[in-house]
Amino acid sequence: MIENFKINSNEIDKIKKISKEERDFRINNLNFFNEKGFPNKRQEDWKFSDLREIVQKNFKKLNVNKVNSKVKKVNLIKDFDHNYIEVINGELKSSNFKYEETNKIKIKNFKNENFLQESKGNPLICLNHALSDKGYHIEIEDNYKLKKALIIYNVFTEDLKENILNSRNKIKIGKNCELHTIELVINDSKYKFINNVYENIILENNAVYKNICIQNEKNDGYFHKFSKNKLSSKSKYSSFIFPSGSKFNKLDLEFNLEGEDSECTLQSASFLNKDDHQEIKTNMNHLAPSCKSYQKVKNVLSSYGKGVYQGKIYVKDIAQKTNAYQLSKALLLSDNSEFNSKPELEIYADDVKCSHGATSGNVDEDSIYYLMTRGLNRKESVKLLIDGFLSEVVDMIKSNSIKKFVRSKLQRQIHGY
């Protein structure tokens, strides 16, 4: 049991080459975290995911020291040609952009620039501000469209044990650029650990960013990611996330549609079972006129799986002609599974179209009957229905080879049901 988990400020002194200003900033954030501790259900944003209780129950101690892991070679996928970077326990280890004009792409290790950002009172973000000293930083020069997708191999090594990792990533996509990324989480860990990520993605005018995140192997990791995304004028952001399999996973996603005519799409499909606990929280901030946003979150839950979706749409007074939509659908397969949905709309403009919907329920018995009369047994019928339910999201992926790859990942998981 960890009661009153505190981190000593000498951990900050272990981080090399920092200015006094940065050190002060880190100390302030650390003090805030030490004062507040892990967030608990008394905080509105955490009411369905009491991380303090979860950490207390599952960790005897927590280790903030750096892990010096020996990494075996990452198995690159062969399903389609791609550029890649390898990220090990949050740290950028290698990159390969052999399909691209490399002078158009900057890739660096973690950098402290743009560091002094407010943390809005989330203790985990403060913790990240205080301790993060690794991550990747990618910049695409204006007017360059990448020819192949970039796969981010995000590897967690087997020697992680009660570690808490803090990393920070940034992707900046220049004007008129196009980048497609696939983040593939490869989890070799055997023990419990916490991964706390701060991500910052910037789309300049007319930029196109498509992202698919696949994290669905069973693991003992506890994940928290805060992602701050800026959409400039006429930029297009599309994200598919397929998260599941973790003991705890909270994705806190903030999208700021700052430029006119920008568009943001977020779609997710998860299969949560055997004590998985997952929350997707979004803040879709419409800050300029004529922007569009679309969110669709689908969850299948079974055997003590718990899912949460907190989706907020905010429309600023000047953001006229906003078109915002969100939908949450959950399929509950057992009585002990749980799904919580909290949609929120906060609208200050008068000429907008905003809508939301949420459904949750059991698998339709008539559908099972229909499939069984065609020779499938009950379990096969339910599997087919789950597959269909989640495939609706996968089917929206345009590239056939990527779609096939994602489908195989998802199906392997469903077959374990």
Binding site: Y370, G388, L390
Partner: protein, 244 residues
Amino acid sequence: MLVIKNLKASINKKDILKGLNITIKPGELHAIMGPNGSGKSTLANVLSGKNGYEISGELKYQGESLKEIPIEERAQKGIFLAFQYPTEIPGVNTNNFLRTSLNKVRKAKGEKELDTLSFLKLLKEKSSELGIDEKMLSRQLNVGFSGGEKKKNEILQMKILDPNLTILDETDSGLDIDALKTIADGVNSSRDKKKSFLVITHYQRLLNYINPDFVHVLSNGKIIKSGCMELAEELEKKGYKKIN
């Protein structure tokens, strides 16, 4: 093929079938007509094995009692039910579903599963017989299908699974003349001396195209009259109330 003796079925303590007798021999096509609420759909559900019914009496298919046999095994043994209201299954591709279903049935029969190519060949052949647009088959199962498309899809499934006993539960309801003819052609081209059919319907219309060997009138859970095509014609003229 099918022997039903003194079959009683109730659901939630409500008696629906109250001692039904019918025997269908290989190669025969029987039609069951009856007013709303007479138990026609219950009979279809009981034959396909739907859960929730209390059943007594004799229910034998190919000499074997069906009572303890689960839904999917009945399908694998060659019983096929074409639904009155086929269920929409979002996200499941019609094509893939048909192949999965066929291979389940083939496997149960001890036959080799069909690979994608041989299956597509079979599918193309059967769907063109029924005038089904191939595009329909790449859509989600029954989702957004028109009433006619749904019923044609049921008949297509029948053609592909090639069952011994087919039960058509008001497959003709809500169809226009052309679709009705397509359905009837589908049934007629499947008839042979080994296959049996039980056609449940409200109207004589479909029967004009498929020539039943026997026509039964189901009323209040029992067969109250049996005959041949003339009986259907009489019903059409006089209505159900006059038949007793």
